[in-house]
């Protein structure tokens, strides 16, 4: 069996038996969305998807850091490093495992967002959800690479966020917000922003795999 599939299956099984990461991250995202909801109670003219993406970015990185810290503290990351698979396969397997969990989390966040902030996206909700799923690829790639490097260090969770957030904000998140905002305003930017998002994802996934191989 392909080692990447083996690693995805392992990650899902470990998470679904403990539910430590998904439940905590979903609760946190609910609280973030509620905080925004209350802080903007007087401003009824709000339009835009920045809140959706802030919530996905912050809780998604938290989830990836949690997965990586768990692996590092148990010593199982070293177990995986001892297996005779390439470092790029190890990176892609860990990234894909995190990505599946991130997709579940971002599905919950999107549903909460639509419920709490009414459905601003109208008939374009399907395209918004597609953008969310695609945007998660870049978050998973950068988050996994940063967490793999930082979690063995003291305060690794903080370093992961400090490294990942600036990189993701000006690339994946900006392109994602442009794409989803254009769906709200019926603008013509969607295709361009979506293509840009795919390009960023390609750069981060291949870059992450290449850097992992270099670290051997």
């Amino acid at each position: 069996m392909n080692p990447i599939i083996v690693l995805i299956r392992k990650e899902l099984r470990v998470e679904f038996r403990s539910l430590q990461g998904i439940v905590a991250s979903a609760m946190l995202s609910f609280m973030i969305l509620m905080s925004f909801k209350f802080s903007m109670a007087l401003d009824s003219s709000f339009e835009g998807s920045g809140i959706l993406w802030s919530s996905i970015l912050l809780t998604g990185l938290g989830l990836i850091t949690h997965i990586s810290t768990r692996e590092s503290e148990r010593g199982t990351f070293e177990l995986l490093k001892l297996s005779p698979i390439s470092r790029y396969q190890l990176f892609l397997g860990r990234m894909a495992g995190s990505l599946f969990l991130l997709w579940i989390l971002s599905t919950i966040i999107t549903i909460l967002y639509v419920v709490l902030f009414d459905n601003q996206f109208g008939d374009n909700l399907g395209l918004v959800y597609l953008t969310v799923l695609v945007g998660c690829v870049g978050i998973a790639a950068v988050g996994t690479l940063a967490a793999s490097t930082a979690t063995p260090l003291h305060g690794g969770w903080m370093i992961t966020s400090l490294f990942s957030i600036p990189i993701l904000l000006f690339t994946v998140i900006e392109a994602s917000i442009r794409a989803t905002d254009s769906l709200i305003s019926d603008g013509s930017d969607f295709q361009l922003a979506f293509m840009l998002l795919i390009l960023y994802n390609l750069v981060f996934v291949t870059g992450g795999a290449w850097l992992s191989e270099l670290s051997e």
Binding site: M1, P3, V6, L7, K10, R13, V14, R17, S18, R74, G75, T76, E78, L79, L80, K81, L82, S83, P84, I85, S86, E216
Partner: protein, 207 residues
């Protein structure tokens, strides 16, 4: 077969391994003894490619260089660390199956049950590893080390937490692997009767 000549490893300014020379033939068991901090675990971690050596003249296993052929080395070695890592959310058989699948072993489920039977864990193999005792974890770790038929075994304190039955099982398996031509390095505080040689490591040197 292990062949080391002038292997050095340091962490920052601390020199941990100072020119290790070691040859272990196929079918030979070598026990490494030494005080805490003498470099025993670092030597094993370097040979298992978990840590990279600073410099060496020769450092190979079965003719493969530890730095340049690390993937090939990892497919040939079995390693039992002092605290064997495992996933507590997975059962014993799932933990071992994961390891076998990463080593591209066919019929991983069946193979995992066979190996767990050999180490005396078959009646507990469907229980979550998180509920295992220290001795059971040690048996699970040992089963991971031997599961992919390695040519070289590195065992760091392999008898930690084991009862007399467990010690007997592991000793018998070690003798069997030795007869099959496996090179075995055991890090221990005690000498073992079945060991061909006992070497002492002191301040990063074999004395």
């Amino acid at each position: 077969m292990i062949n080391l000549n002038a292997l050095f490893k340091s962490f920052g300014s601390k020199k941990v391994l100072r020119g290790i020379n070691l040859e272990v033939e196929s079918g030979e068991i070598v026990t490494l003894v030494g005080n805490n901090g003498s470099g025993k675990t670092t030597l094993l971690r370097t040979l298992t490619t978990l840590d990279s050596p600073d410099k060496y003249n020769i450092a190979d296993i079965d003719g493969f260089d530890v730095r340049d052929d690390s993937e090939e080395i990892r497919s040939r070695i079995g390693y039992l660390p002092h605290n064997p890592p495992f996933y507590p959310e997975l059962t014993g058989v799932e933990n071992l199956r994961l390891w076998l699948e990463l080593n591209s072993i066919n019929n991983a489920e069946e193979e995992a049950r066979n190996i767990l039977a050999q180490v005396g864990l078959i009646s507990f193999c469907d229980e979550l590893a998180g509920n295992y005792s220290r001795g059971m974890i040690q048996r699970l770790g040992f089963s991971m080390a031997i599961s992919h038929s390695p040519t070289t075994l590195f065992l760091d304190e392999p008898f930690t937490g084991l009862d007399s039955d467990g010690i007997k099982i592991i000793e018998d398996l070690l003798i069997k692997y030795k007869e099959d031509g496996c090179s075995i390095v055991i890090v221990s505080h005690d000498k073992h009767s079945y060991s061909d040689r006992t070497l002492k490591l002191e301040r990063g040197e074999i004395v």
